[in-house]
């Protein structure tokens, strides 16, 4: 007994421009985790090697570095969210592109989550001395 290819109803092969991948669902928050570990680990190393004076409170080069890195990462994640939003707008309506829309919108939300998480986690560096 042969057939069944019709049962699969696959339609035309996707081309390079129409193929969708799921990496945008994980890249943002994976990079957030890298930033988080780098910040925590970097702070520990800096405090062991060259701790700023506790008398300075939060006004130290270390806090400034933490905040600057966080601002850069927040901006980058925000840009990625904006790019995802634009990409979703370019996707046509209809069932055929539902998968692309799903991944694009989810990626936008996840990049936004990464941006907000970066900003919020770094916020205490405005208030607290780094090595006390």
């Amino acid at each position: 007994m042969k057939p069944q290819v019709d049962a699969l109803e696959q339609g035309p092969e996707p081309t390079a421009s129409t193929a969708v991948n799921a990496w945008p669902l994980v890249i943002g928050l994976a990079l957030w985790f890298v930033w988080f570990c780098a910040t925590y680990g970097g702070l520990a190393v800096a405090c062991a090697v060259a701790p700023p004076s506790p008398a300075l409170g939060p006004m130290t080069w270390l806090n400034a570095t933490v905040l600057l890195l966080a601002a850069v990462c927040t901006g980058a994640f925000g840009c990625a969210a904006w790019v995802s939003a634009r990409a979703v707008r370019r996707v046509s309506e209809g069932a055929a592109s539902a998968g692309s829309r799903f991944i694009g919108r989810s990626a936008m939300a996840l990049y936004t989550t990464a941006a907000l998480s970066t900003a919020l986690v770094a916020l205490p560096a405005v208030l607290l001395a780094p090595c006390v």
């Binding site: 007994m1 042969k2 057939p3 069944q4 290819v5 019709d6 049962a7 699969l8 109803e9 696959q10 996707p14 193929a19 969708v20 991948n21 799921a22 669902l25 994980v26 928050l29 994976a30 957030w32 985790f33 988080f36 910040t39 925590y40 680990g41 702070l43 520990a44 190393v45 405090c47 062991a48 806090n63 069932a95 539902a98 998968g99 829309r101 799903f102 991944i103 919108r105 989810s106 939300a109 996840l110 989550t113 998480s117 919020l120 986690v121 770094a122 916020l123 205490p124 560096a125 607290l128 001395a129 780094p130 090595c131 006390v132």
Partner: protein, 844 residues
């Protein structure tokens, strides 16, 4: 919307069933132990998990009986310490994770429109490791040798100085053995969700339970290796005297805490997310409408999965970490509540917008909502550092995590068991007994643990086996103990209901809850092959949109509606779009999983008894068994029946392509390996930074160039192997065998280099933590180099026997991934352990 799904002419369902049963059915009698069918293996997982739950629950009852009154002499300190250690460990490692993986292994292929998980033999092997490991671990109770250092085994309490005897060894070896099962199941489940689904089922149409299990499985793959590494290092410290956590020899006790909680906090969400998936599956069915905010729920689960890896230090707020670092973790701990809250609102909105039908599963879901919200709120309280310090190690924390774990996992799990009970057995539960069981459990639980918050706020520390009268703890402890017995009666009632329903429950119709997901089309109880034909699914609600699917599936009107060829087949799809790529040929019943599991159990026992020479012999035998098992994969004549000329047009068996599930399985295995190696590098850098005087000498004992040479040899082997794969892709298998032998030779030379470094570096792992880490790293690389070399040599032999060729080009690409890991890990070890100290380290 549903597309046209039937094309093939209908066949007689009874004839089809007989044809499929001949290929997929389990053998009878003692040969049933060789069954690898996911339904059978998953049932074993769930039943075994339930047995461990009952044992751990009874231990919990002993603890509550002891604490019921001040000065109670029912248990001594030693017995109490063993009981709470075993209770926590068994609940976390032997019950919560395995039973949910068992539920997932049972349901997922049926939900996804597949006939089995992609690695059925791996699943069976995992089960035997779980069973044997669980028996070995639990036997320590009967022998009076149970571990007593708490479920997180903090050093130095768990070191051989303060925990002499075999108790801690039972924990370290037994749990590591059991984790093999957890990792195997996670890899099997993740690859199955990504690669073995119904045609057309894109990521955006995955059942929500599949999303939750995909995220959970990836979390297991990344989250468990730090604990596996920590357990190996601690066992090496205890049995071989290597210094890792001993501060007098340059180690640090807090390194264990970091490694443990790097696993331990994600573990909470590893336990919660599958349960959340169950709730997201049940609520729409009983609300009789689709889940509100499907995409938001998916995004929330992904967000929870990642953020949960940034919380581990909140278990260590009391160890003396700078305030700013603690604040990072406090903020992340509060953040993780947001995605969980989004899911909660999605469930409430679904109930609000639907027309809910109240039944037994929904009772447990409602119980979950109440209890889990309370547990989540105390979790946010604990994220505040000052409050955390105040209640650290008190009964408040015990109450909090029981609210989170019992509320967040046990209640949804029982709801899910009642929901899928007609699927498991073909019978309905007793409404009356089920409701009685729920209310006794709900009231008993809250009476026990709500009151325990106050006991903790009154200052009662956890892990004390008795207390004096007059501290204000008498009454709340008595109330907790009384209600804990009410809860135990509730659980007993529910177990009675489950046992009775098997015989006395009324017959269940095919889809008793009018559910939308595909598992209800696979029969109640299910068929061994799930589906006689595989439908195209382009909707999230296949049974709501096409109620006739069960009939057309059974009549063979969809894809792959035959089994006369003797192969176990399911469709392999593109992970994102669900477009069919190939036909996955699944292996059948086998004794290898049981034999391999048995060998590893013997190895575990030999290590426990410190019989190291027999352990080496057993380890070599186990490797031989595993390699012999691997010989049967792919196109080995024993594994393939027929040539596949009867496949749908344009499709091949996966072994005839470059892209089968094994490639993905190996990729995820290497991801776990990378997580373990990253934890090792973290340990090295941590000791360097934290331990006073812990800087390695600038002149590394490994020398500057030896590891570079080894990296180059492994790199050359990788290049050779990849060249062979490129040629295969280009349509030529000329020189294939030679390339593989060259790769094996280069790998062997690399291993020789590592042995030379080990012999000449003059490392003293018993004296210095620094040397212990270096020694362990070299052995880790040697093990991987040897594995890569043996696998390459085995491939060359398979080419010689015709199992790998232009027609069957799949396997070398899989082996190349091991080589890739090996090369990168060696190069990183060279950079971090030989080069970095030259730039930053202190004088020799």
């Amino acid at each position: 919307m549903t597309e046209r799904t039937t094309t093939a002419p209908p066949r007689d369902p009874a004839t089809l069933h007989a044809e499929f049963e001949a290929v997929w059915g389990n053998p009878k009698g003692w040969r049933a132990l060789s069954a690898v069918n996911h339904t059978s293996v998953a049932r074993r997982f769930m039943v075994t998990g339930a047995v461990f739950f009952v044992i751990a629950g009874l231990l919990g009852m002993l603890l509550r009986a002891q604490l019921a009154q001040p000065g109670q002499g029912f248990m001594g300190a030693a017995a109490y310490n063993q009981a709470f250690t075993m209770h926590g460990t068994m609940m976390m490692f032997l019950f919560a994770v395995p039973i949910q993986q068992g539920l997932a292994a049972y349901l997922l292929p049926k939900m996804l429109g597949a006939r089995d998980l992609v690695f059925p033999r791996l699943g069976a092997f995992g089960y035997w490791c779980y069973l044997f490991g669980g028996i070995i671990f639990t036997s320590s109770l009967l022998l009076g040798l149970a571990p007593d250092a708490g479920w997180f085994m903090y050093t130095p309490l768990s070191s051989d100085t303060y925990s002499p005897g075999m108790g801690a060894d039972f924990w370290l070896l037994g749990i590591t053995f059991i984790e093999i099962a957890t990792m195997a199941a996670a890899i099997d489940i993740a690859v199955s969700i990504l690669r073995a689904r119904a045609a057309g089922m894109g990521l955006h149409q995955l059942p929500i339970f599949a999303w939750s299990m995909l995220i959970t499985s990836l979390m297991v793959i990344v989250g468990f290796p730090p604990l596996i590494l920590g357990s190996i290092l601690l066992e090496l410290e205890r049995s071989a005297g290597w210094a890792f956590f001993d501060p007098t020899r340059g180690g640090d006790a807090l390194l264990w805490q970091h490694l443990f909680w790097l696993f331990g906090h994600p573990e909470v969400y590893i336990i919660f997310l599958p349960a959340a998936g169950v709730v997201s599956t049940l609520v729409p069915v009983f609300a009789r409408r689709p889940l509100v905010g499907y995409r938001w729920v998916v995004v929330s689960m992904i967000g929870t999965g990642f953020i949960s890896f940034g919380l581990w230090v909140h278990h260590m707020f009391a160890v003396g970490i700078p305030a700013l670092s603690q604040a990072f973790f406090a903020m992340a701990s509060m953040l993780v509540a947001i995605p969980t809250g989004i899911q909660l609102f999605a469930w409430i909105a679904t109930l609000w917008a639907g027309r809910p039908v109240w039944s037994v599963p929904m009772l447990w879901v409602c119980g979950f909502l109440v209890i889990f919200v309370a547990g989540g709120l105390t979790g946010v309280m604990l994220a505040f550092v000052p409050f955390n310090w105040q209640v650290h190690d008190t009964h408040f924390v015990v109450a909090h995590f029981h609210y989170v774990l019992i509320g967040g996992m046990l209640f949804p799990l029982i709801g899910g068991i009642y929901y899928w009970l007609p699927h498991f057995s073909g019978r309905m539960p007793s409404e009356q007994l089920a409701k009685t069981g729920f209310w006794l459990t709900f009231i008993g639980f809250n009476g026990t643990f709500l009151v325990m918050h106050w006991t903790g706020l009154l200052g009662m520390p956890r892990r004390v086996y008795t207390y004096d009268a007059g501290l204000g703890w008498d009454l709340p402890n008595l109330v907790s103990s009384v209600f804990s017995f009410v809860m135990a009666f509730g659980i007993a009632t529910l177990l009675l209901d489950l046992a009775l329903h098997w015989r006395h429950g009324r017959k269940a119709p095919l889809n008793p809850w009018h559910a939308d997901t595909l598992e209800w089309a696979s029969g109640t109880p299910p068929l061994s092959y799930n589906f006689a034909s595989l439908p195209r699914i382009a909707t999230r609600h296949p049974l709501w949109d096409t109620p006739a699917l069960p009939e057309t599936i059974a009549a063979g009107q969809h894809a792959l509606p035959q089994a006369a060829h003797g192969r176990r087949e399911t469709l392999g799809v593109d992970p994102v779009s669900g477009r069919v790529r190939e036909v996955i040929h699944l292996p059948g019943n086998s004794w290898w999983p049981l034999v391999a599991g048995g060998m590893l159990a013997l190895l575990c026992l030999a290590l426990l008894l410190k019989l190291y020479l027999p352990a080496v012999a057993v380890a070599l035998a186990a490797v031989a068994v595993l390699l012999r098992w691997s010989w049967e994969n792919g196109v080995h004549p024993g594994a393939v029946a027929g040539e596949g000329h009867d496949l749908p047009q344009g499709l091949k068996l996966h072994s005839r392509t470059f892209d089968g599930p094994g490639l993905w399985g190996m990729g995820l295995t290497m991801l776990a390996d990378a997580s373990l190696f990253a934890s090792l590098l973290f340990g090295w850098l941590y000791l360097w930074t934290v331990v006073p005087g812990g800087q390695p000498p600038a002149d590394s004992p490994l020398g500057t160039w030896p590891l570079a040479v080894v990296s180059a040899l492994f790199g050359a082997g990788l290049w050779t192997l990849r060249r062979a794969v490129r040629r295969l892709r280009a349509g030529s298998d000329a020189g294939l065998k030679t390339h593989l032998w060259w790769a094996a030779g280069l790998g062997a030379a690399g291993c020789g280099g590592l042995l030379w470094v080990l012999a000449h570096a003059e490392l003293q792992p018993r004296l210095r933590a620094h040397d212990a880490v270096l020694n362990f790293t070299l052995l880790f690389l040697l093990l991987h180099g040897a594995l890569a070399s043996v696998l390459a040599a085995l491939q060359a032999l398979r080419v010689h026997h015709g199992h790998v060729s232009l027609a069957a080009p799949y396997e070398p690409g899989v082996v190349a991934m091991v080589w890739q890991f090996c090369t990168i890990a060696t190069a990183l070890a060279w950079a971090v352990m030989a080069l970095l100290p030259m730039a930053f380290a202190g004088p020799p």
